[in-house]
């Protein structure tokens, strides 16, 4: 976020699970996006179906935004706990929309902030159902800041299309009553006035949605998965968009998920499985089989804090070293970690190409924070026309006809053997998880073992040429260099800007094609005066990878493992602390 921006507002909607906090957030985000604003959101929810406290953070700006600060300008309270919970992060003179009938506001809060009392519950009941509290609040919020009502009404109609006209009508009515209430009672009294503006049209989506779309465009025809938060929305998105264009199987467990995908991939279709850390633990054995049989597969692993069940709905980058070493034995793999929605889309398409070009497993590793965050993106960044489907070297029909059996693991210079699919006339395509010869039959001798092992491992060198350089940003010679990977991009970039504005010269390197490690990574560390690896984990896993694969030593780490994402402000504070400033 640069200082050129004139509008930079942070909304937070808080309530209990079951009150529709996420729905309000989602609809509001789209409403603002259609009204010409850039949006970044963050979702914070508990592992429960009813009760507790969850919130939806919505940052609105007239400039592109990639992160959410831990700061609130407008708070919408759907329950009696929201104000108390978020009081600490509210800027002075914040706007609070609440229903005093749900809870009286303390004099301290009243003194510092502007309270707009709206009878949310009464209006909801008047419309027909207390569940409409969230819709009333949406209308009331937009009325207060004088936003356009019709955009909201249109979105409500789209949102509830499947539920029928009555539900649409009631929701629109609830929103309208909320809107009219604040218009009539508080017009001209709110310090924030946000009106729709003319701007190029943007798309708005989460990173999980971007992975789902990417998989469809890449031609993923088979997905087998077991539901696991926060990964599930990937295939839910795919099914909602293209139910009749691919095959989905909800499996009995993650052992089945990965092995079913492997069976489909052996059959010649592009296959993916999705999961989180715990599910991936069950997949390890199959992940290793992908390595041995050289079956191309994509695993979308959306992390949450561990160990074990950890914090099931929250965020952490603690599975990186695990993925790097996952599976028994040694075999090559590729790890991508998207930094934003556009990259999630691009890397998913690339993941399927890499898997098939080099016959390896590719892991798309992201975490809950980005997976659930809506952001507005420029549709030009989803460059459909540029997508190439690269399936790697294929055996010719002639080859299959003239050779009695097919060498599916032929030893080649690059390590990649031309591929054929079972069911091709005259082709006999065999492979095994046991060490095998070029024909895929079980062997025991040392010489063949070495040939096959070296052939497989050579692919890591071959695929290196497709690994792109990490992104660098900021001035060449800086006092502070920040290093990040995956979902932390937005927060680190904004922190870099803020630090430079405060006179601490800072640059950054951000890695999304995480493994194998690009040589630029080591060079960046060497050039840096002081480098800090910013990551959402305790042990500094990417810092460890830098040490192991480049031999370079970053100065230190900025780590966070409380299950919450970095805010730019947090990084700035931590950098200053290390600088003694």
């Amino acid at each position: 976020m640069s200082t050129e921006s004139s509008i930079d507002l942070n909304f937070r909607v808080g309530g209990a699970a079951g009150q529709g906090v996420q729905s309000v957030g989602g609809v509001l985000s789209k409403t603002f996006a259609r009204g010409g604003y850039h949006i970044f959101t963050h979702q914070d929810y508990e592992s429960r179906i009813r009760g507790g406290h969850s919130f939806f953070h919505l940052r609105l700006s007239d400039m592109p935004v990639y992160a959410a600060p831990n700061r609130v300008n407008v708070l919408v309270a759907l329950d009696d706990r929201t104000i108390e919970i978020h009081e600490d992060v509210m800027v002075p003179n914040s706007v609070i929309i609440c229903d005093r009938k749900l809870r009286e506001v303390s004099p301290e809060v009243e003194r510092v902030h502007d309270i707009f009392d709206v009878p949310l519950m009464d209006i909801a009941l008047e419309t027909g159902n207390k569940l409409y509290v969230n819709t009333v609040a949406m209308g009331a919020s937009l009325g207060l800041i004088e936003f356009d009502f019709d955009i909201l009404a249109g979105l409500i109609a789209e949102q509830f299309k499947k539920k029928g006209q009555t539900i649409i009508d009631e929701n629109v009515k609830a929103a309208r009553l909320g809107y009219e209430f604040t218009q009539q009672n508080y017009k001209g009294t709110c310090c924030y006035i946000i009106k729709p503006r003319t701007a190029p049209k943007t798309m708005i989506l989460t990173s999980n949605e971007a992975i789902g779309i990417g998989a469809l465009f890449a031609g993923c025809k088979f997905v087998s998965a077991y539901p696991m938060t926060p990964s599930t929305s990937i295939w839910v998105t795919m099914k909602a968009l293209a139910h009749d264009d691919f095959v989905f199987v909800q499996t009995e467990d993650e052992l089945a998920s990965i092995n079913m995908a492997l069976g489909a991939a052996y059959g010649g279709v592009r296959a993916m499985t999705t999961t989180s850390g715990g599910g991936f633990a069950l997949m390890n054995e199959g992940f290793s089989l992908a390595g041995a049989t050289e079956t191309p597969i994509v695993v979308a692993l959306v992390s949450r804090p561990g160990p074990a069940t950890g914090l099931p709905t929250r965020t952490e980058q603690s599975d990186l070293e695990y993925v790097l070493h996952a599976g028994h034995g040694e075999f090559p793999r590729v790890i991508f970690a998207p930094s934003c929605q556009e990259e999630a889309f691009r890397l998913t398409v690339k993941a399927f190409n890499m898997a098939e070009k080099y016959h390896v497993a590719v892991v798309i590793l992201q975490d809950q924070h980005l997976a659930d965050s809506y952001r507005t993106v420029d549709p030009a960044d989803f460059n459909i026309d540029a997508i190439k489907i690269e399936r790697g070297p294929m055996a010719t029909e002639e080859e299959l006809k003239t050779s009695k059996d097919f060498k599916s693991h032929r030893v080649t210079e690059s390590g990649v053997s031309p591929r054929a699919f079972p069911g091709t006339k005259d082709g006999i395509i065999a492979t095994a998880g046991d060490e095998h010869d070029e024909y895929g039959h079980i062997i025991e001798d040392a010489e063949t073992r070495n040939e096959q092992m070296e052939k497989r491992m050579r692919k890591l060198d071959a695929l290196m040429k497709d690994i792109e350089e990490p992104l660098t940003y900021g001035q060449e010679a800086a006092d502070v260099s920040l290093i990040g990977w995956g979902s932390t991009y937005g927060a680190i970039k904004e922190a870099t800007d803020l630090l430079n504005e405060e006179g601490i010269s800072t640059n950054m390197m951000h890695v999304v094609e995480v493994f194998p490690v690009h040589k630029v990574v080591g060079e960046f560390v060497t050039k840096a005066k002081q480098s800090f690896v910013v990551e959402n984990n305790y042990t500094g896993q990417y810092a460890n990878i830098i040490r192991a694969y480049t031999g370079k030593l970053p100065t230190g780490g900025i780590n966070k493992y409380d299950g919450r994402p970095f805010s730019p402000g947090y990084i700035v504070k931590e950098v200053k602390r290390r600088m003694g400033a």
């Binding site: 025809k221 968009l241 009749d244 009995e252 069976g263 052996y266 059959g267 065999a430 039959h441």
Partner: protein
């Protein structure tokens, strides 16, 4: 015409013990495929881990040699990827009923179009004689000299209770009968489950060829395999009398028929036709 020579594997060094019940099973399967006039390239086998899971290496077919217990997920995926393939899974009792039990139950429920052969020797061979899920209660093994103290599972009864669409049992000592059952299984539309009683000449000194021969009997023409309760009752017979043949048949839709895209062709065909531009319009939903 397809001949038995077409199925001759390039692998000559067979890792089975002399006299192993897997030999006649391999022979019966080859003969069944030849009699069904299937070309080797039309057949894809998926196996797991254990002596019987080496079987696909010993005939000439497409093959995905999986991990221990994971035959059925991979075979299901393969059968959905290309439903024109004749998919046959093969593995042992430890692989299928132990390690892969959950997959077996769920494969029966899904009903993919494939054959699943369990070569059931009631013992673990490759790990040297431990009890398997089908080892009889009380049998003494090297590791349990006091005898196995949990009852054996009944694969026939489990499969029937789940309405498996084809449930059969054969005996490795009767090659012709085995061949005929395998032909029926391969021709069956849906999940055809065949448990083959297979003597382990090295580790199971109780359930020998002789032991089975004295007990097995073929289900007669008067037996109605579509009667679930009769089938369940038949499945309880184990001891002096062991029925072999098709125990249960249940008509139900196959997995592939649930998928709209697979009504247009194989998923592999769909894959080959894929063009990114076909999805261009779906981005509109995100504005």
């Amino acid at each position: 015409m397809v001949t038995i020579e077409d199925y001759e594997s390039r692998v000559k060094d067979i890792a089975w013990c002399p006299g192993c019940g897997n030999f006649p099973i391999l022979e019966a399967l080859k003969q069944a495929l030849v009699e069904l006039n299937l070309e080797p390239w039309q057949v894809a086998m998926v196996s797991g881990i254990g002596q019987s899971s080496k079987l696909p290496h010993y005939l000439r077919v497409n093959e995905y040699n999986e991990l221990h217990g994971r035959i059925l997920p991979a075979a299901t995926g393969l059968s959905l990827a290309n439903h024109e393939l004749v998919v046959i899974g093969v593995g042992g009792d430890g692989d299928g009923y132990g390690e892969g039990g959950n997959h077996w139950i769920n494969a029966i429920r899904r009903n993919p179009n494939m054959t699943y052969i369990v070569t059931n020797n009631q013992i673990y061979g490759l790990t040297k004689g431990q009890a398997s899920p089908t080892t009889d209660y009380g049998m003494k093994t090297k590791d349990e000299p006091g005898g196995i103290h949990i009852p054996a599972m009944n694969p026939m009864a489990v499969a029937i209770s789940l309405d498996c669409s084809f449930v059969a049992r054969c005996f490795a000592g009767d090659l012709d009968f085995m061949k005929e059952i395998l032909k029926k299984a391969i021709n069956h539309k849906g999940f055809a489950f065949v448990d083959i009683l297979q003597p382990c000449v090295t580790w199971n000194k109780v359930n020998t060829y002789q032991w089975y021969r004295e007990r097995v009997y073929k289900l007669g023409d008067d037996y109605d395999p579509t009667d679930k309760f009769a089938a369940f009752q038949k499945a309880q017979e184990w001891g002096a009398q062991i029925p072999i043949g098709v125990l249960y048949l249940f008509k139900r839709p196959i997995l592939k028929d649930d998928y709209v895209p697979l009504q247009r062709g194989t998923l592999l065909d769909l894959q080959k036709e894929h063009k990114p531009s076909q999805f261009k319009d779906l981005l509109k939903k995100f504005f």
